[in-house]
């Protein structure tokens, strides 16, 4: 009898415990919905697969360390109320202070109350608490958290993600939620303005991110206008299509997030992207406008001072065609047509304003492709250690002109800059420190002048008396 009572008490205790620990507003019934939203929002992209944070997110003003968003009470968000969680997601305001817009709250601001609650339920009840305190951000003056409040005044419209387009029908509406709010696609695909805000006037028109070109994904011909719905959907779900493949950060977005969405949601994304106002990409240099320098036979035929073994083993050639045939043709074909079934993409695709961006090609040559979607691992080896900057430039020039038919005059320095991964920093941001100091100096000088003037006027008046 005692043991039965003890057992009953234990059972009761087990039932009672989670209820007691459950934060107000977190509902078990919403956990699964929240999990899906967290995948669509790619929270793991910055906060890590376990959400314990710590990974540095590169921004033009310095590395921002993603926070711990597990329900750990001390180091995570376990002590946050639903209201605090909501403010962080939709207003960029966390209990500890203002968030930097590396956290895409200008996108997440489009979340509905119920979606916020579902996410809250998932993070509180469906995520394992991990104790981890990420490094403090080390951002230069004047990028203090408080400085973000006026930034919000300018660039945050609560409830409306930056650039969100007008939609018709349920499918486009759903697509807008996935693209503009959860997917925060514009964080990479929209160029940034003078204060690092996403430029609404060039929404999704393509941008450079850490040395990679995030292409124009509007329906213009220079964007994804030439892609059929089917191809676009296949690209989003698998990272692969015969019009292009996902590499770099996009490969991980597909791997972690897009490949796990339902087919209906993928179709909704496609439908919404068709509804976004078209943006025209800057025209690429076409091959016809470039005059290729004629082959200097004399230079090639000139006897070299190298001995046979040195010319056999020397590997400094700048001939793009030789490099292509030796390093690339085994997979992409001597003619650049790729392999059967286009497992290895045709390089003739590198011919449009959306696919032929030099940065993308240079990055892929240097870093390869490494994408896992489900059980399928797609891999192209990196060539960074086999080829120097000049060779990558020659190879990229060869591929772009020979197969893509676009002009290409990349130099060693171009390649070095692309691979350094430095996105152009707006003037205002780059000189923000000195500018603010200058402003303070001017203000203080002004105060001094003013007080001197006041004092002089006062003393003169006294003297007059």
């Amino acid at each position: 009898m005692r043991s039965v009572m003890l057992g009953a008490a234990l059972v009761l205790g087990q039932v009672a415990l989670p209820a007691a620990a459950q934060p107000a507003g977190a509902q078990p019934a919403l956990v699964e919905q929240g999990r899906y939203l967290a995948v669509a929002g790619d929270c793991a992209g910055c906060h890590g697969e376990s959400f314990k944070g710590g990974e540095p997110v590169a921004t033009p003003i310095g590395a921002i360390h993603a926070s711990n968003i597990t329900p750990d009470r001390a180091s995570g968000i376990g002590s946050w109320s639903l209201g605090q969680f909501s403010d962080a997601l939709r207003k960029g305001r966390a209990p500890e202070g203002h968030l930097y817009p590396a956290m895409p709250y200008t996108a997440y601001t489009g979340l509905s109350d119920i979606e916020v609650q579902a996410l809250y339920s998932y993070f509180m009840l469906g995520v394992k608490a991990v104790s981890n305190r990420p490094l403090a951000n080390d951002l230069p003056f004047p990028f203090i958290r408080a400085a973000m409040a006026p930034w919000d005044l300018l660039f945050l419209t609560e409830g409306k993600p930056t650039g969100a387009a007008t939609v018709h029908g349920e499918q486009q509406l759903r697509g807008r939620l996935l693209v503009e709010t959860l997917g925060h696609c514009s964080a990479c695909h929209s160029p940034r303005g003078t204060m690092m805000q996403e430029r609404a006037d060039r929404h999704l028109a393509g941008a450079m991110v850490a040395g990679w070109w995030a292409p124009n994904i509007t329906a213009d011909a220079t964007g994804i206008g030439g892609w059929s719905d089917k191809k676009l959907a296949s690209f989003l779900a698998t990272g692969h299509s015969d019009l292009g493949v996902a590499a770099g950060e996009m490969a991980t977005v597909v791997s972690r997030s897009l490949s796990k969405l339902t087919p209906g949601d993928i179709d909704a994304i496609v439908a919404y992207l068709r509804a976004v106002p078209k943006m025209v990409s800057p025209k690429l240099l076409r091959a016809a406008t470039v005059t290729a320098s004629p082959l200097d036979i004399a230079a090639i035929e000139q006897p070299t001072e190298l001995s046979a073994w040195q010319s056999q083993l020397g590997h400094g050639t700048r001939q793009g065609d030789v490099l292509y045939q030796s390093a690339c043709a085994s997979c992409h074909g001597a003619d650049g047509n790729g392999s059967a079934g286009l497992v290895h993409p045709s390089l003739h695709l590198i011919d449009s304003d959306s696919t032929a961006n030099a940065a993308t090609l240079v990055q892929v040559i240097a870093h390869g492709v490494d994408r896992t979607v489900g059980a399928r691992h797609t891999f192209m080896p990196p060539f960074r250690s086999d080829l120097d900057d000049g060779q990558i430039a020659s190879l990229a020039n060869f591929v772009r002109t020979e197969f893509g038919g676009v002009g290409s005059v990349l130099t060693d320095a171009d390649v070095a800059e692309i691979l350094a991964g430095k996105s152009a920093t707006p003037w205002l941001i780059r000189y923000a420190g000195p500018l603010v100091i200058a402003a303070i100096v001017i203000f203080v000088l002004g105060l001094f002048l003013l007080s001197w003037k006041v004092w002089r006027t006062f003393t003169r008046r006294l003297a007059r008396r």
Partner: protein, 531 residues
């Protein structure tokens, strides 16, 4: 307290040296790898192979470097042997495995106890069980595809053998059509074709892409799907090891206690440098390692440095089947017959295994047709297609026993551009291997009948050997007849280790590289605990 240039200096940047360096670097040790040859990227070797007129010469794409000649550089290797092939060794970053075939066998426990089990040869001073974790580590490091269910003893006892602590990291490739046909037709005569474990990837692994069937497994894989020592070298560098190429080591300085105190080397222009370390690893393969010891009079109290050369005596045979087999699809060596590997008569007859050469026969057939010289145009094409599609070549690799009379030594009559000597090899085939010929002829005859084949190359017409160099710095527990102990430490030199297939006391009949890799990883971890 003495100040050293590094914790450990590794001489030789091949797979074995690099794997030892990788383990040391992972353990936080400072490691300098000295490589005599240059760094040449894979794409350049691909280009050189394509433009080479000497397609059958595996060393040709790597050039004849005046300051670091290789075994095919004219005059460098004086090969006095009654077997047919000069082992192709390289001096280049990544080492000889830049052109290895990639077959990754384990030894059997019995084969490491030849004296105890069969009363011949020598026992290893370590057991299979001691080596097993390092076999597994090597397989996972380099990406071996293999069939977990196979009894690799060839006895077909219905259970996997030898024992493994973990499954193969990668699944085997599908059996090529030719081997399926051969298996079907030879089965009724009692023959089985098992899968040969291989380092050609069946899916992306460890920063290498999956094989796409370029069909150029040798010399190098143009896309890096097949492992080479360059991958291990890159891994070691990534882990913190420093590579110095063009460093031709010729002097090891030692003190009165026999401890090595410095390594001295020449650059390609003859400029001398000297580096010091707590511990020194010589990983310069089976010829260069003993050569360096002999040049310095080191580690040779037993007189065994350079002796006991074993190279896997080999019989080669081939026939035209009565149907197109189209060999050449799939990994370079996929099929093996292991049924003679562990027979009870191994004390008398060398254990051996047949490897079915899965390469495109067209180049060799074309040469023969041109020599015959009586066909042109469509007739030539048709006949070339017929012969190339129907030809099957098979090699029998045989166990070699350690015998001090088979040896390598320094050849002072050759001098390279830095004045360094060459290598001399003396090798005579022993009865142990020769005694395997009669049953090889039986097998060959059975296969001719099974495939209704026209005989071409007959086994025994010539004896060959493999590119496997073993035994030249032999391992053992007795300092009076061995160069290194079970940890690969030289007797008489506390801080000098040899990481090479040259340490094998017995060699089985199978390709040695994976065993060498396991030893290298074991040595690396062991040395890391000491320094």
């Amino acid at each position: 307290m003495a100040v050293y240039d590094a914790d450990v200096i590794v001489v030789g940047s091949g797979s074995l040296g690099s794997l030892a360096a990788l383990e040391l670097a992972r353990a936080g040790k400072t490691v300098v790898i000295l490589e005599a040859g240059p760094m040449v990227p894979d794409w350049k070797i691909t280009e050189n192979f394509r433009t080479s007129a000497r397609k059958g010469n595996l060393n040709a794409p790597f050039g004849d470097i005046p300051y670091a000649p290789n075994s095919y550089t004219p005059g460098y290797l004086d090969f006095d042997a009654d077997v047919g092939w000069v082992p192709g060794t390289l001096r280049v970053a990544g080492g000889t495995s830049r052109h290895w075939t990639g077959v990754a066998w384990r030894l059997l426990p019995e084969e490491m106890k030849m004296r105890t089990q069969f009363g011949i040869g020598r026992d290893w001073p370590i057991s299979y069980d001691e080596l097993e974790p390092f076999y597994t580590a090597a397989e996972y490091q380099v990406g071996v595809n293999g069939a977990d269910e196979t009894d690799y003893s060839g006895l077909n006892r219905g259970a996997p053998y030898p024992p493994r602590s973990k499954p193969y990291p990668l699944p085997p490739e599908a059996k090529p059509y030719a081997l399926q046909r051969f298996q079907m037709r030879a089965a009724e005569r009692g023959y089985r074709v098992d899968h040969a474990p291989n380092v050609r990837l069946s899916r992306p692994y460890a920063g290498r892409p999956a094989c796409i069937g370029n069909n150029v497994c040798n010399p190098n894989c143009p896309i890096g799907a097949k492992h080479s020592g360059l991958h291990d070298l890159e891994a070691a560098q990534l882990a913190g090891a420093t590579l110095k190429t063009g460093a031709v080591v010729d002097k090891l300085e030692s003190d009165a206690q026999g401890r090595i105190i410095a390594v001295s080397f020449l650059d390609p222009n003859g400029l001398r440098s000297r580096l010091t370390a707590r511990t020194y690893v010589i990983a310069a393969h089976g010829f260069e390692t003993p050569k360096l010891l002999l040049m310095n009079g080191l580690a040779n109290r037993s007189g065994m440095v350079g002796k006991n050369l074993m190279m896997h005596p080999t019989l080669s045979m081939g026939f035209f089947a009565d149907e197109p087999l189209w060999l050449g699809r799939g990994q370079y060596l996929h099929g093996a017959n292991l049924q003679h590997r562990l027979r009870s008569d191994r004390s008398k007859v060398s254990g051996g295994f047949y490897q079915f050469m899965n390469h495109n026969a067209a180049p060799a057939m074309a040469v023969a047709l041109f020599k015959e010289g009586n066909r042109i145009g469509a007739s030539l094409d048709d006949e070339l297609r017929r012969r190339a599609s129907q030809y099957m070549a098979i090699q029998l690799l045989l166990e070699d026993l350690p015998d001090p009379s088979n040896s390598m030594s320094v050849n002072p009559s050759f001098r390279d551009s830095l004045g360094q000597p060459g290598i001399r090899v003396h090798y005579r085939l022993k009865d142990y291997a020769k005694s395997a010929l009669p049953r090889t002829i039986d097998d060959y005859s059975n296969w001719l009948q099974a495939m209704n084949a026209v005989p071409q190359e007959l086994p025994g017409a010539h004896w060959y050997n493999q590119h496997h160099i073993m035994g030249t710095v032999i391992m053992g527990s007795d300092p009076s007849d061995s160069v290194v102990d079970k940890d690969l430490r030289c007797y008489g030199h506390d801080n000098l280790f040899l990481v090479t297939t040259g340490v094998f006391p017995s060699v089985s009949c199978v390709n040695p590289t994976l065993t060498g890799m396991a030893l290298a990883i074991r040595a690396g971890r062991h040395i890391a605990k000491e320094v």
